[in-house]
Symmetry: C2
Subunit: 340 residues, 2 copies
């Protein structure tokens, strides 16, 4: 007997990726329920040869599923996840609501699948900009003790959802026509601009996105004492988050060693021949499952430093793909059950 699966937020940017990723997944899906707000209820979406109708999300609709993927917002997750868990089912949540909850595993299956064993019905998938970083860090820090990570991001608009994608398109058209721009989703014009602000700001001057990236990385990598600092920046790219990372280890790391460790990491593809114009870029990472890593070099400014650049599709490995991979791993571990 297979699983009854629901996707909450099925009509969003991440929801569309869930449908694509589930089609190619090994998960035994008996039934698939597409859920969204009342505004989207009644819409139909193709899933393979089937056409599925979107239902309005409700506690009852969610409880029909053994496994619920949630890709909505933190408020929706805060309401729905405990209901799913209390009913003895599993919620895999893409929001920030539960990521730092010690009772909730925060998992990248290639890195810390064992954390799934202690789940209590809610599992979180990391922020979309944390994923490319930890995927590149893991094979290195697993072997070589790490002290400090400094990272700056180049984040695509789709990380802010479908309305943000539409806003970039509309603004890009207006920039080409020299027309005035009225931002709605972002605080400022994003077309032909970069905005060094993702999410709200904390007292210490960091944005919540920067704080999340630090805390999530420490939790996933099991490195609570890692020194970590980020600057998170939105760029006018549709799809594909990039990170420039500067890592200090406890000893010198050669480029050859780093490249070998990265090449052995499942889900990572080394793209690193800059003299031949080969390095990770959003246009190449978009639609891919792998995290692309390149520009690997010794840090000129630190004897134990390594610098690299990584890009991943924020809607796939940064969100939907990682969530489905979590479910597949839970299935392999016998942690998912048909509730009927």
């Amino acid at each position: 007997m297979g699983l009854n699966v629901a996707i909450v937020g099925a009509t969003g940017a991440v929801g569309a990726e869930f449908l694509k990723v589930l089609r190619g997944s090994s998960l035994p899906v008996d039934s698939l329920h597409l859920l969204a707000t009342s505004r989207s209820a009644g819409r139909t979406l193709p899933f393979g040869d089937e056409v599925l109708e979107v239902q309005e999300v409700s506690p009852e609709a969610v409880k029909k599923a053994d496994l619920v993927f949630i890709a909505a917002n933190a408020e929706a997750s805060l309401e729905l996840c405990p209901q799913v868990a209390e009913a003895g089912r599993v919620a895999i949540d893409d929001s920030s609501a539960f990521r730092m909850d010690p009772q909730v595993p925060l998992v990248v299956p290639e890195i810390n699948p064992e954390d799934l064993d202690g789940h209590h019905g809610i599992v979180s998938t990391p922020n979309c900009t944390t994923v490319p970083l930890v995927m590149a860090l893991h094979p290195l820090v697993k072997v070589i003790p790490v002290k400090r990570v400094v990272v700056d991001t180049y984040q695509a608009v789709s990380g802010a959802g479908g309305a943000a994608i539409a806003e970039l398109t509309e603004q890009a058209t207006r920039v080409l026509g020299s027309q005035p721009i009225q931002p709605r989703v972002f605080a400022h014009q994003i077309a032909a601009n970069v905005i060094p602000a993702v999410d709200a700001f904390l007292e210490n001057g960091y944005s919540k996105e920067e704080w999340k990236m630090a805390e999530e990385s420490k939790k996933i990598l099991h490195l609570p004492d890692l020194d970590f600092s980020a600057t998170c920046v939105r760029v006018p790219v549709y799809r594909g988050h990039s990170v420039a990372a500067h890592v200090e280890f406890s000893r010198p790391v050669s480029v050859a060693e780093a490249r070998q460790l990265l090449a052995g990491m499942p889900g990572v593809q080394v793209v690193d021949d800059p003299a031949a114009d080969r390095y990770p870029m959003p246009v190449d990472a978009a639609g891919m499952d792998e995290v692309l890593v390149g520009r690997i070099r010794r840090d000129m400014s630190h004897p134990n430093g390594l610098v690299f650049w990584a890009t991943a599709d924020n809607l796939r490995k940064g969100a939907a793909l990682n969530s489905v991979q979590i479910a597949e791993e839970m299935q392999r571990r016998g942690l998912l059950k048909n509730g009927r």
Copy 2:
């Protein structure tokens, strides 16, 4: 008696800014000669109430001027600068050709104007991405000993010239129309993408742009032993280079102290109220003389660390404006002479 001034590369992206900046300059300009390649000769450009005809650049044309601004390419500079210097006149060069020559001052007038006194007829203006960084670093490192700078850049296409501006516009149109893209100026699509590669690559994995940024910063700041590492990235922005900087000092630096030092720096404007959506951005810096600095905060990952973000107009303070300011400073110091 005033100065006879020539601009080599007058029809380029930086050339157009020279005309604007010179109009508002205190330099006593008797005559202005606009020079460019034969392809652009005969074109006319407005300069205030006058209309000036572009002449083909030649050794003879250059020698008519007491002061020559060169905004072409390194090859042109390598040929022309020594000719100007040998004739006892002054070349202010925007290319990388002479920046690291120990005989050539590399100057940001707000930082190291005294270096002009030792000139031998050639003065270099820094790379357009070095300028925002050193303008923000100088007031801090002048007071507080600095150990290490890690920086990642977000560089506008205009840094690669007028053809690059046209390429972004053309590609942005094609992206909106879902048409295929054939890059010419850049190695890859730049619209809706970021490219972690500016200039050619060195054996050590750094790009020349990254190396230039390090070496130029050390020379301008008079800090030959500064530990420095950069990742330079092209972003789909027309105008305005941004930098995310992570600086390690010899002692802790409070945000209040950093902000006070930055506020006292001529040519710097602190724009730093992120909770009110205020931080430096290319759309705001474009057309401005000032370097905008914000996102100033303690580095969570280092006890003596400070993080900030800076943006400047790469064609103005990053190129034409800084060159004209160098000339103004040389004039004040009695280093410019009418040669007739």
